[in-house]
């Protein structure tokens, strides 16, 4: 018997999704290989991101209080939560990484989905949280629009971001 990690119901071995609460009893690696088709989320507003922020306003402000940023990968129960101070690198760690990334997408199938080791960064500015592609191999989409590399774009609550083929929703704590 297996025990559902979420509701505690016991399930026969070989169960793939909990009969009681629907929780996936499969490994994240398996799940990420089977991404679900999605209806557009109500808060994805097409190509609604602003022009890159001008350089002058992009300065990292150390006096801005840290923000809690949550990454939600559809189909995965494990949400990634970080306290963003100044800057955080998004990517994937492996034996050859020389830069440690704060937001590691390996366990969401980052390798298979084409996430670069150093893919993008989150920047905390006095305008809000910005996203900057760091010249990744497969690029970054913000609300389905491709981002020019090395430029910062302001993020909004619930934005849809594709790192390569990996879809992530970003949320800020109020």
């Amino acid at each position: 018997m297996n025990k559902c990690s979420e509701c505690g119901a016991t399930q026969p071995k070989g169960t793939m999704f909990c009969d009681e609460c629907g929780n996936a009893l499969l490994s994240n690696a398996l799940l990420s290989r089977a991404p679900v088709q999605r209806e557009a989320m109500p808060f994805s507003r097409g190509s609604r991101h602003s022009a890159p922020l001008p350089l002058a306003e992009r300065k990292l402000s150390s006096d801005t209080p840290p923000r809690t940023v949550t990454f939600v990968v559809p189909g995965s129960r494990n949400h990634l939560k970080i306290e963003l101070k100044e800057q955080a690198i998004i990517g994937r760690s492996d034996a050859h990484s020389d830069v440690a990334c704060e937001i590691d997408l390996t366990e969401y199938g980052g390798l298979e989905m084409g996430v670069s080791r150093v893919h993008a960064s989150l920047l905390l500015t006095d305008q809000g949280v910005c996203l900057c592609d760091l010249g990744s191999t497969n690029g970054t989409l913000l609300n389905n629009t491709s981002l020019a590399p090395k430029q910062a774009f302001l993020l909004h609550n619930g934005d849809e971001i594709h790192f390569g083929d990996l879809l992530v929703h970003i949320f800020f704590e109020a």
């Binding site: 018997m1 026969p12 071995k13 793939m16 009969d19 290989r33 089977a34 209806e39």
Partner: protein, 486 residues
């Protein structure tokens, strides 16, 4: 004999060619070879072999029979969620995703339809519902060719034959008859159903794809057992039944049972606008039927029982597990018939090998083949150090969607058993899962029903149907083809 070389094609003649034509074709091919061609040359050998077979009337007849068989047969592909089982004192589950395809190179000319539309004209159909149904019937008649048979029956408390079964002839008189259908009276489905089946029986059944489509928006009282008996008798004769429920007041449980004997489809149409599209799509599918009456015989070993069966393509529909078999319905054109089985496996305490035979029978009307047999096998191994299961992405998706559907059904079971708190909790979980899948509309519906369950202890009929058929439809959303090879 290799399967991909057709002797007729090698000689460049049609299968109906006379012996004289075959001889001439062979001679002219021989002249085409250079003088120094080795007798071992593979192309030369092929031509020789083709001629050797086709020039002899006995050999040719055997070859023709073999080719017909090969063209007719079906192919079965099976994916299992796991093949190794753990040694365990408790039961285990395994899932099988099974596809059955037509193996034919060319699909033969289609078998014509013998179709009966049985239309509810009770008072509640008045207005847009009946108007859209009439429009749909008109469009269908204009589209169907004259080799198809069509009859139209309406019913309220009794049946009325609007158009008797005959070759489709679309003209002003027929239109006038369809347009004169008016709504009034109650809903006695048996009246309409038996009149429709009777019309279908007017034709020689073996020459046609026989299908009855019931369109209703209400509940029938007192005659449901008679309806189900009729559906079984009709299925035995090769008459398939599918149903369209319009609005929210029809009895989904009853219609699901009604279509089960022939493994037909129940559709939920909330907006009358969608009737035309739905019928168009359905009839197009029926027109492409390659094999029908496909069924899986359940000669499974004792340790294995089928818990659930669910058809995924050509449409999502729960399967009814009968005593010895599961009826799977039809294969439409090149598209596979796919279905999912959930198997419960008895405790395995010692290393063991479990063979599961998958034997399918099917009728292929265009080839005049009845009970064509096609088989596959799955082998589970119960081992001490079982390797981790690694189900394919498509199987994971299918099981995940099926789980949603089952959660919505379990909520209903909870409600019926008076377990309102469990129902509300489950509906809440379903809402979360739907949101994770990005199904915002369904998730919102589930959330609304969660609140309703918590405050009033019931689910709205509309919400229940939306979730039941909405979660079924999730299985249809899966892009089956693109994921098969992963």
């Amino acid at each position: 004999m290799s399967q991909d070389s057709d002797y007729y094609e090698i000689l460049g003649v049609i299968p109906a060619a006379t012996p004289e034509v075959i001889r001439v074709a062979f001679n002219s091919l021989l002249k085409g070879f250079p003088k120094d061609t080795s007798p071992e040359d593979p192309v030369f050998q092929q031509v020789l072999q083709a001629y050797k077979v086709l020039s002899n009337s006995k050999r040719r007849a055997t070859y023709d029979a073999l080719m017909k068989k090969a063209a007719a047969s079906l192919r079965v592909d099976v994916q299992a969620s796991r093949l190794s089982l753990e040694l365990s004192e408790t039961e285990q589950l395994a899932y099988l995703l099974i596809d059955i395809h037509s193996k034919a190179q060319k699909l033969n000319p289609q078998t014509p339809l013998n179709l009966s539309l049985v239309i509810d004209r009770s008072t509640s159909m008045r207005g847009e519902r009946l108007d859209k149904v009439k429009a749909a019937v008109n469009i269908l008649m204009a589209r169907l060719t004259a080799d198809n048979l069509l009859s139209v029956v309406t019913f309220s408390d009794r049946a009325q034959l609007v158009i008797p079964a005959d070759h489709v002839a679309y003209n002003i008189h027929v239109t006038a008859k369809i347009n004169s259908i008016e709504a009034s009276g109650g809903t006695e489905i048996y009246q309409g159903l038996s009149a429709g089946v009777e019309e279908i029986r007017q034709a020689p059944l073996s020459n046609y794809m026989n299908h009855l489509i019931l369109l209703t928006d209400g509940r029938t009282y007192g005659d449901s057992d008679k309806c189900l008996q009729l559906a079984y008798a009709a299925a035995e004769q090769g008459i398939n039944i599918s149903a369209v429920g319009i609005g929210t007041d029809w009895n989904d449980e009853f219609l699901d049972k009604l279509v089960a004997p022939s493994s037909g489809h129940t559709a939920f149409i909330e907006n009358p606008e969608d009737i035309i599209n739905h019928l168009g799509k359905q009839i197009k599918g029926l027109g492409q039927v390659y094999a029908q009456n496909v069924r899986l015989s359940l000669d499974f070993p004792e340790d294995v029982t089928v818990e659930t069966g669910f058809k995924l393509t050509p449409f999502a529909q729960p399967l009814t597990i009968e005593d010895r078999q599961i009826n799977l319905g039809s294969i439409e054109g090149r598209a596979p018939l796919s279905f999912l089985l959930e198997l419960k496996i008895a405790p395995q305490q010692r290393p063991n090998r479990i063979n599961i035979p998958l034997n399918f029978l099917a009728d292929i009307p265009s080839q005049e083949i009845k009970n064509d047999l096609v088989s596959a096998q799955v082998q589970f191994l119960a081992l001490k150090d079982a390797s981790a299961a690694s189900p394919s992405p498509i199987l994971i998706k299918a099981v995940r969607m099926l789980n949603m559907y089952r959660m919505s059904e379990k909520v209903q079971d909870d409600v019926e058993a008076g377990k309102t708190d469990e129902a509300a909790a489950r509906m809440g979980h379903l809402s979360t899962r739907l949101l994770e899948l990005g199904q915002a509309k369904l998730a919102h519906q589930a959330h609304t029903e969660t609140v309703r369950l918590a405050s009033m202890g019931s689910v709205s009929e509309e919400g229940r149907k939306r979730l039941k058929y909405g979660t079924r439809a999730l299985l249809e959303l899966i892009d089956w083809d693109s994921n098969k090879d992963e």
